[in-house]
Amino acid sequence: MSSGAGHPTMSAIHRFGTMVFLMAGVMFFAGLTGAYLVFRFSGQIWPAPGLPALPVGLGGFNTLVIVVSSLALGRAVRAMRWLDAAGLRRGLTAAAALGAAFLILQAVQWWTLLRHGLSFAGTTYGSIFYVLTGAHAVHATVGVLWLLLMAWRQREAWVSDGRQRKVEVCALYWHFVGAVWVGLYAALYLL
């Protein structure tokens, strides 16, 4: 498979394999979200009286951070297709930094909610919120480490074919993490 610029990019089989793996991740999060929807629409009042509401503003800002991170990674992949090694490294580092900022903001949010009495145990509201956001944070942590590893290994002034395939697989994974978060934000904070 070739890009528009005529440089080799990820083969169809790599893309297909990665997408099948990511579809398993989609079904994993869909199952958890399905459980959340049962609780969300079975209760008369959500959240139960005395429990804090989720910070929509902070969650929205965090959504913006992860979307911008995905965009930065998109720029990195475009730079890679033009064999711009410095642009690729810059883009990977920016995406990883924004991903780390997303995780820090998530931790701040959890800390704030814990201080306001939303614990993991004891309430369905707390349990399902921490399970969903925690499972996503684990995926995001893996993604940030992967991006950092890709940026660290990209020290040469050229981009090899093997590196291109790895970066594109990593990019697909990171876009998946971002897309899942947008869905989770809509379900948890806005519904």
């Binding site: 989609v26 399905g34 049962v38 969300r40 629409f41």
Partner: protein
């Protein structure tokens, strides 16, 4: 794999599962009536519809990918017969 071969394989697998299908018992009907009543039923219905939507999207992606691949193979002449 050609698209028609893939479709035939799917039909064979589905047809082979048909003899194992049994009618829903009265117990299932009672459980359904109980679950569908009230707010729990609403939550379950929304959740099932959501999961069906996601599953449909995943299956649609798979079918489109296979169909595009088959069309690309056909356009490029495909694999020569042995």
């Amino acid at each position: 794999m050609r698209l028609s071969t893939f479709s035939e394989a799917v039909v064979v697998v589905l047809a082979s599962a048909l003899p194992g299908v049994t009618p829903a018992s009265a117990q299932c009907a009672m459980c359904n009536t109980s679950a569908a009543a009230g707010n729990v039923g609403r939550g379950l219905s929304i959740s099932v519809l959501f999961l069906l939507g996601i599953l449909g999207a995943v299956v649609a992606w798979f079918v489109v990918t296979v169909a595009r691949s088959a069309r690309r193979d056909a356009t490029s002449g495909g694999t020569p017969p042995p």
